[in-house]
Point group: C2
Chain length 347, copies 2
DNA sequence: CTGAAAGCGCTTACAG
DNA sequence: CTGAAAGCGCTTACAG
């Protein structure tokens, strides 16, 4: 199947290539009849624009806005995303994609809002965002819808939006993986404690899915026969957490492992270190605070994903969408990864 | 920094663009003096060809030959490679890359040789190969060198060749990861058995690196204080293996975990299943025979890599090399992955 | 409302 | 040994 060119369409429709181009790009100024004819032929011949030629003539630079939390030595996870983005930009060469980064302070609504404003005030062809702050993000998406700017979610999914794609963790599977690791290390008769440690409303859907996955593992295949105890802690300060955990452990002396369903595993780790307990501890997310305890051997495993892959894909999907209006997959789950001291070194 | 075009060079050198092109492509027919002048200016201006324009005019289709083992339901690992290759080809669009697959029967020297012949007889711009059969592969590389066809290794590395790149596992790290998993699951005073189970000469360098990594982990950070016992088995038939293992286990009743440094973990798994032993078992490679025992819970972990990523990278590197003559990294190690029943489902 | 022409940066004959 | 011209498929003014 040889390439169909606009020239081929033009000949068949008995018009000039200029006219074909006008039709194809809705640049108006075309008789209705001609228009239909050209469109029909284009469809019939299955015309696909040659984006190399396109790139050469237009020399268009795509502008993508990226709205994600600020990374740092204490947050390697978000530090890795820009790298993935740069990688995608590099691989998209020789097309020209420019990234407008807008980093917001994690959990800072005001800052998030400021950054969304900035994005809306500047020209952009599409947005990649981590909609971590639900309400603010929802508003932002509505604005984007209104301006017909396409957007892709990474890391966190938000229902009831018109995002063209979501790329992130399969939280349910993440829960199962955590369960399987604990199951391997724990004595079969010991109990397991699940700590849902997060400020209220924070990403609860995600944490719930992890919990469901965790429990489903033991229903399906787990060896462990001990109790599965769940505790909710909605304040993450040291005192509250320690008091709660103290109490739970006192009531349940048979606990042999703890799973923290959020990124706050380090808070529990500090507690265990202080009390010199060698309970098995598993959590999520490759943050500095977590990996420090991983290296010390207090946290045994972290469940993570490859942030670079995630954002790299986001850029590519957005580009594909813009150039060919195709959407590969609405939900693209990234493989969950098991991280311990040894695999950490590869990050 | 705006794009430098051959036109710019031509103007500065006071020649025509045709001449510049001749110099840049070594198409001869240029006065030595002109040549030097143009080259100097090109370098000075840091000329980079616009590969979009290039692609548009030449409409060249790159032909890559891929020489890898035949995949199948019993060998998902090699089944995944073509997928990665297709992905790369897709992402390299709108450039045109055509793959000439040559699958050989694993461990079949004659078949491997036949396939190398076929590759050499057909026109190709570059080769991606898994040089699993060392001697045959070495010969093949020499031939490629002679014909000035560039080649990239995946999966296995071969010394003393002119490969432009190697993409594969960091075997040493793979050994450490295996060690850390066993260390997590085993009682501290139990012994660990390492089985080097492979036919003679088969990829021994790789297995050695894994062994070294394994031991280094316990020297550095391991909790386990038991003995580390290594046994070499150079015949992989059931009888030999069972006899040997029987003997070793009898002599060392305190063994709590077994690591198999090769892909033959399933042979040991079958043994453990038969004898109803629930020793911890860790091995390498996502083959069907291995994953079957993983699902049964006889093998606890497999250490693997992402074959798709591996071959995807290979195609991209080869393309980059051909279009811009740059080599990113001579050795590109892929992250090692921890695979158990739960992460397996993501393959 | 439509067509013809120029140009994006490069390569490929062809003429001299 | 060198230059001028045509062409890859598309888009962008411009003329009518």
């Amino acid at each position: 199947m040889k390439q169909v060119r606009i020239k081929d369409i033009a000949e068949k429709a008995d018009v000039s290539i200029g006219t074909v181009d006008r039709v194809l790009h809705n640049r108006g100024e075309v008789a209705q009849k001609t228009r239909e004819k050209v469109l029909a032929i284009a469809k019939e011949m299955n015309y696909q624009p040659n984006i190399v030629a396109q790139a050469l003539t237009t020399k268009k630079t795509y502008k993508f806005s990226v709205l994600i939390p600020k990374g740092g030595q204490d947050n390697v996870y978000w530090l890795a995303h820009p790298k993935g983005i740069e990688k995608a930009v590099h691989e998209l060469q020789p097309f020209s994609v420019e990234i407008d980064y807008r980093f917001f302070e994690l959990h800072n609504e005001v800052d998030f809002l400021t950054k969304t404003r900035e994005i809306l005030e500047n020209p952009t062809d599409g947005v990649i965002l981590a909609p971590i702050l639900k309400n603010e993000a929802l508003h932002f998406c509505e604005e984007l819808d209104r301006k017909k700017i396409p957007y892709i979610f990474i890391d966190t999914f938000l229902d009831n939006t018109n995002c063209i794609s979501f790329i992130g963790e399969d939280a349910f599977q993440g829960g199962r993986v955590a369960a399987s690791l604990i199951d391997f290390g724990i004595a079969p008769e010991k109990d397991i404690l699940v700590v849902n440690l997060a400020k209220n409303l924070e990403n609860t859907q995600h944490l719930n899915r992890r919990n469901q996955g965790f429990l489903s593992y033991f229903l399906d295949t787990g060896q462990n026969t001990g109790m599965k105890i769940t505790v909710e802690i909605h304040q993450t300060d040291k005192e509250t957490v320690e008091a709660k955990i103290d109490k739970v452990l006192k009531q349940n002396p048979n606990i042999g492992a703890i799973l923290v369903s959020s990124a706050k595993t380090h808070v529990i780790a500090r507690y265990l270190e202080k009390k010199r307990l060698d309970t098995i501890l598993v959590g999520y997310e490759i943050t500095r605070k977590n990996t420090d305890y991983l290296k010390k051997g207090i946290i045994h495993f972290l469940i993570g994903q490859r942030p670079m892959d995630q954002s790299e894909k986001a850029v590519k999907r957005l580009f594909e969408y813009l150039t060919s209006h195709t959407i590969a997959l609405k939900h693209e789950f990234q493989p969950v990864e098991i991280i311990n001291t040894e695999t950490l070194s590869m990050y």
